[in-house]
């Protein structure tokens, strides 16, 4: 148990330190989602009432696309110098590596959301009519839902040809219920249109089911020969 925690922590700090020094992923994600926001605002010209209805969809689609940019980078670093092969033959638990990578991506995408969400609010003149604090659990659960499966499928698409395009092809169909829950919950909260509880519970269920599945099957993926 202690080895699991120490290896997770070591991998996570290493990834964060590398990211802090290069800032490759976070910068490209920030710029990418800024572009998405600007292009969306040219495509639609909504008033405040309409934008409450569609902003949930726009914001999560922008984060989903930006997250794919980061997720594709997750394992690329470990392929250089055969780090992943070294990990495969070492007795370290596979899940430690997975949890570290997923947490690293979670921190990265959360950071992106913290910067981009206020910008969204400004560009689309948004003001929540429902309980705004509920957006925080939606954001946390939604980000984890994207990141946990994204990290897993990024590890899977490493083994394929043209892996950059493979990740969204695998991730998007499986993420449909999660994306729908995030979008609906955000829309309900922004428009003050009833209770978002059903969608938050569904998102929590999605997170629990797929976190369990990822932890159960990551070893199989890592050690597949």
């Amino acid at each position: 148990m202690s080895s699991l925690r120490s290896i997770t922590l070591a991998t996570l700090t290493k990834d964060i330190r590398l990211e802090w020094r290069s800032r490759d992923a976070i910068n490209s994600m920030l710029f990418f989602s800024l572009l998405v926001v600007v292009i969306f605002s040219f495509s639609f010209d909504p008033n405040a009432e309409e934008s409450r209805e569609i902003a949930g969809g726009l914001i999560w689609v922008a984060f989903l696309f930006a997250a794919v940019v980061a997720l594709n980078q997750t394992w690329a670093r470990e392929l250089r110098n055969q780090v992943l092969d070294a990990y495969r033959v070492s007795p370290a638990p596979a899940n430690a590596l997975f949890v570290a990578k997923a947490l690293g991506n979670f921190i990265l995408v959360s950071l992106l959301e913290a910067v981009m969400a206020p910008l969204f609010m400004i560009f689309y003149n948004l003001r929540a009519l429902g309980p705004a604090w509920q957006l925080i659990p939606v954001a946390i659960l939604g980000t984890w839902a994207l990141v946990v499966n994204g990290t897993f499928f990024a590890a899977m698409s490493l083994r394929t040809r043209s892996r950059e395009i493979m990740l969204p092809l695998l991730l998007f169909p499986i993420s449909i219920p999660a994306v729908q829950s995030m979008v609906e919950a955000t829309r309900i909260i922004l428009a003050g249109d009833g209770s978002a509880r059903f969608w938050i519970v569904l998102l929590l269920t999605y997170d629990v089911v797929f976190t369990t599945a990822c932890l159960g099957l990551f070893g199989t993926i890592l050690r597949a020969e």
Binding site: R161, I176, P177, V209, E225
Partner: protein
């Protein structure tokens, strides 16, 4: 076994012809929808067959992960391919029926959406298999099949929250159906299942032959690269196994 295949093929063809006759001429006309309703005899059996094949795919994937048997992997591949074909039939016949009856081609209803997401998941499954031609493909595909199976109930619940427009399932759904219509439906389902089984069987044998051939070619290349004369007699050695296997079909 090899002789059983043409017999089964002829029986399936007869059954399909009989089911076609029953669906178009024998089944009574539906009171409100008229002849359009007859597409039901193709739509519903295709859906049941597709779901059955996806279930077979899931079972074969789990068996592969436990036993690492290549036969289970071949079954998983074949059932996914044929399942996607039947699921496509469902998704095409549905709108053809819906347009005159509902007045719209498509609606984001619970069964329509779940079927569409299932179709998307299995298309991505086939894309994954096509894009990775390494020895890890079966493991990756089996894991994706399990993820897909976990996803379907969540998709169902997420759309269950919206009002549903699709007609209630006629079997076990509280709907009523004329017994003659049910008879025709079940005959069609039997015919479609036989047809799906036949195609799967054929494709399964083809897949095994393909793998044997690839193995033989790899062996030949290996022997050739070691400087040994890759004579035709040597190359034929692994192919003999192939022939004997096709003989037991």
């Amino acid at each position: 076994m090899k002789r059983a295949f043409p017999i089964l093929a002829v029986l399936t063809a007869l059954l399909l012809a009989y089911a076609f006759y029953e669906a178009l001429w024998v089944a009574p006309m539906e009171r409100t929808m008229g002849d359009v309703q007859r597409i039901f005899y193709y739509h519903v059996p295709s859906a049941w067959t597709a779901f059955l094949l996806f279930f077979v795919n899931l079972v074969a994937s789990v068996v592969y992960l436990i036993r690492k048997s290549t036969k289970a992997d071949a079954v998983a591949l074949v059932s996914a391919e044929v399942g996607v074909v039947f699921c496509t039939v469902v998704l095409v016949t549905g709108p053809i029926w819906a347009r005159p009856v509902w007045g719209i081609w498509w609606t984001w209803d619970i069964r329509l959406t779940t079927t569409l997401v299932l179709w998307l998941i299995y298309v991505s499954y086939l894309v994954l298999r096509r894009f990775s031609d390494s020895s890890q493909t079966p493991t990756l595909a089996a894991v994706l099949a399990i993820f897909g199976a976990l996803d379907v109930p969540l998709v169902y619940f997420s759309i269950w929250f919206f009002r549903t427009q699709h007609p209630q399932p006629v079997i076990g759904g509280g709907g009523s159906i004329d017994p003659r219509m049910l008879h025709v439906l079940l005959i069609n389902w039997l015919a479609f299942s036989c047809f799906a089984f036949l195609v799967c069987w054929w494709r399964y044998q083809l897949e095994l032959l393909k793998r044997d051939l690839e193995e033989a070619q790899a062996l030949e290349a290996l022997l050739g690269s070691e400087g040994l004369p890759a004579t035709s007699g040597r190359a034929k050695l692994p192919l003999k196994k192939t022939q004997s296997r096709s003989g037991t079909m």
